[in-house]
Each structure stands twice: as structure tokens, then as C-alpha cells.
């Protein structure tokens, strides 16, 4: 029995000189669906919310509360990034429920792109909160001799974000494929339910770790992070 390598993706078509693979098309579809959904729900906002608007408000407020609890700062500045990351990852991980669709997060390239976004966001928010000089000074905390380790940590954090998401989602897809080829049609359904749970947890963990990393880059910002209250 021969399985396709999970490390390479097939090119569907080429757009000029750029090859476009299957996960990229899935990502575009998810982006379009999320954008369209958000636009449709927020098109007519009212003080007495309809059912979709109430649901969306609940989601946004929950994410904002999580950001506030984890980072200890006002969530407004970080809500767009963290919320989009979480919702995109949740949709992407659960997109395998549609027959014929593989989650784009099961390929290394998508996860690398997401981890790069977080990597850039850590530096961007750190510089915005502390200034270039202040941000560079955080690398010399608690001592200048630890600067190389702090610098390495910046890269390994993003790398581990990428590998963790890839490993979890891809292993689920792979396992379902193996069981399906061995046992038959309806047998992998419990595994798919487990995979939904894993997908939701991984989306949460990716967003939570992004919060923690950005929060630690803020360092001794003007608003010191206070103890999260339960």
C-alpha cells in the first residue's frame, strides 16, 4: 500500500508563473466564506440583534474577554489579529467535514504562513509598545549574556507554532486515511469526531500562544499586565 507524502502538495493549475496548489484554493474559499459571512451579518447592525448578529457578538465578546484575561491589556488593538487567526483556524480545521476537502492547515506551507504572521506581529506590537530601542532592550533581559538565547527563542517559538499545528492536523488526516483504507466506509467516523475536537483545541492553542507571545513582547509596557481575575 502506498500513501501520498503529506509533505508535498499537488499543483492544481498555474496562474502565470505562480503554481497554485489545492490548499491555496481551499484557503481562498475559506477566506471568501468568512468574509462573506461577516459582511452579511454586520450589514444591518441593530440595537435589538437578530439571531446571527447575537451569535457573532457572543463570539467576538468571548475572544475579547480571553485576550483581556490572558494579556491583561485592553483587547481592542489585538482583537482583529487574534480573532481572525482563531476563526480562520477553526474553519480550516473543520473544513475536512466537507467531503473531498482537505484542511489547508494539514500542509506545511499554510502553517508556515500563519506562523510568519505571528512572528511579524510579535515584533510589530513589541516595537509599537516599547519603541525600537525599548524592544531591543528586552532581549538583554535579565542579563546581556542571555541575548543570544532570547533571539533564538524568538525564532523557535514561531517554528514550534508551525510544526505543532502541522503535526496535529496532518496526523489526524493521515490516520483517518489509513483507517479508511483498512476498514471501510463508516468506521472512521469516531476518529473524525476526535479530529473535530483536536481541530478546535489546536485553533484555541494557536490563538492562545499568539496572545502569550505578543503579551510577553509587550514587556514592561505603560500598562503593566495585572493578574488575570477569574
Amino acid at each position: 500500500m502506498k500513501f501520498a507524502s503529506p509533505l508535498e502538495s499537488h499543483v492544481l493549475f498555474t496562474l502565470g508563473p505562480v503554481p497554485v496548489s489545492r490548499p491555496v484554493v481551499t484557503t481562498w474559499a475559506i477566506m471568501a466564506a468568512l468574509t462573506l459571512g461577516a459582511w452579511l451579518v454586520t450589514r444591518r447592525l441593530s440595537a435589538e440583534p437578530s439571531k446571527p448578529q447575537a451569535l457573532l457578538e457572543l463570539v467576538v465578546e468571548t475572544i475579547a474577554a480571553q485576550i483581556h484575561e490572558t494579556m491583561g491589556v485592553a483587547p481592542d488593538r489585538y482583537l482583529p489579529l487574534i480573532g481572525t487567526l482563531f476563526l480562520f483556524l477553526l474553519t480550516a480545521n473543520w473544513s475536512s467535514l466537507i467531503p473531498g476537502v482537505e484542511p489547508p492547515t494539514a500542509t506545511l506551507e499554510t502553517d508556515a504562513a500563519l506562523a510568519l504572521i505571528v512572528f511579524a506581529a510579535i515584533i510589530w506590537y513589541g516595537i509599537r509598545a516599547l519603541g525600537v530601542r525599548g524592544y531591543l532592550r528586552t532581549f538583554a533581559q535579565p542579563s546581556i549574556f542571555l541575548a543570544p538565547i532570547n533571539l533564538v527563542e524568538l525564532f523557535t517559538r514561531s517554528f514550534s507554532l508551525m510544526v505543532r499545528l502541522f503535526g496535529n492536523v496532518m496526523s489526524g488526516v493521515f490516520m483517518i486515511g489509513i483507517v479508511l483504507s483498512l476498514a471501510g466506509l463508516l468506521v472512521p467516523i469516531p476518529l473524525m469526531a476526535l479530529e473535530m475536537l483536536t481541530g478546535a483545541i489546536q485553533a484555541y492553542i494557536f490563538a492562545a500562544l499568539a496572545m502569550v507571545f505578543i503579551g510577553s513582547a509587550l514587556g514592561e509596557a505603560p500598562h503593566p499586565p495585572k493578574e488575570p481575575t477569574t
Partner: protein, 80 residues
């Protein structure tokens, strides 16, 4: 099936088998400690479980690294 294929398959198997032991022990310890903490202080359950999830994710990374190494050996082996 030459020697390199055999060694790669064995290497992948052992990487996963041995590499899963450490994270399993670590995750067991951290979950036990979190249960203990929640039992002592149920009102802090929210904070504890959030920290627990993030910590579990960090521990789990070790096993995921092993998985990636095993996959590299099986599917992207530079010597085979």
C-alpha cells in the same frame, strides 16, 4: 527494499515509540498537578485550565517533533 529503507522504517518507528514516552509522562504529571490544584481551589479552575492547555501544547511539541522526524525519514528521506 535495501538497507537504507529498512533502517529508515526502523528509525521512524523507534523515533515515534521512544519519543512519545517523555511527553506522555510530562503531560500526565501536569494534568495530575492541575487536577490537584483545581480540587484545592475550584474557583481558580478557569485560569488553571487555560494555563494547563497552553502548557500541554508546549509539552506535546516534543512528540510532534518526533512525528515530523519520522515522516521525514519515511517520505522525504535524503538518502533513499
Amino acid at each position: 527494499m535495501n538497507w537504507i529503507h529498512l533502517a529508515s522504517i526502523l528509525g521512524a518507528t523507534f523515533a515515534m515509540a521512544i519519543g512519545a514516552i517523555g511527553p506522555a509522562l510530562g503531560q500526565g504529571r501536569s494534568v495530575a498537578a492541575a487536577m490537584d490544584a483545581i480540587a484545592r481551589q475550584p474557583e481558580a479552575a478557569n485560569t488553571i485550565s487555560r494555563t494547563l492547555f497552553v502548557g500541554l501544547a508546549l509539552i506535546e511539541t516534543m512528540a510532534i517533533y518526533c512525528l515530523v522526524v519520522a515522516l521525514l525519514l519515511l517520505f522525504a528521506n535524503p538518502y533513499a
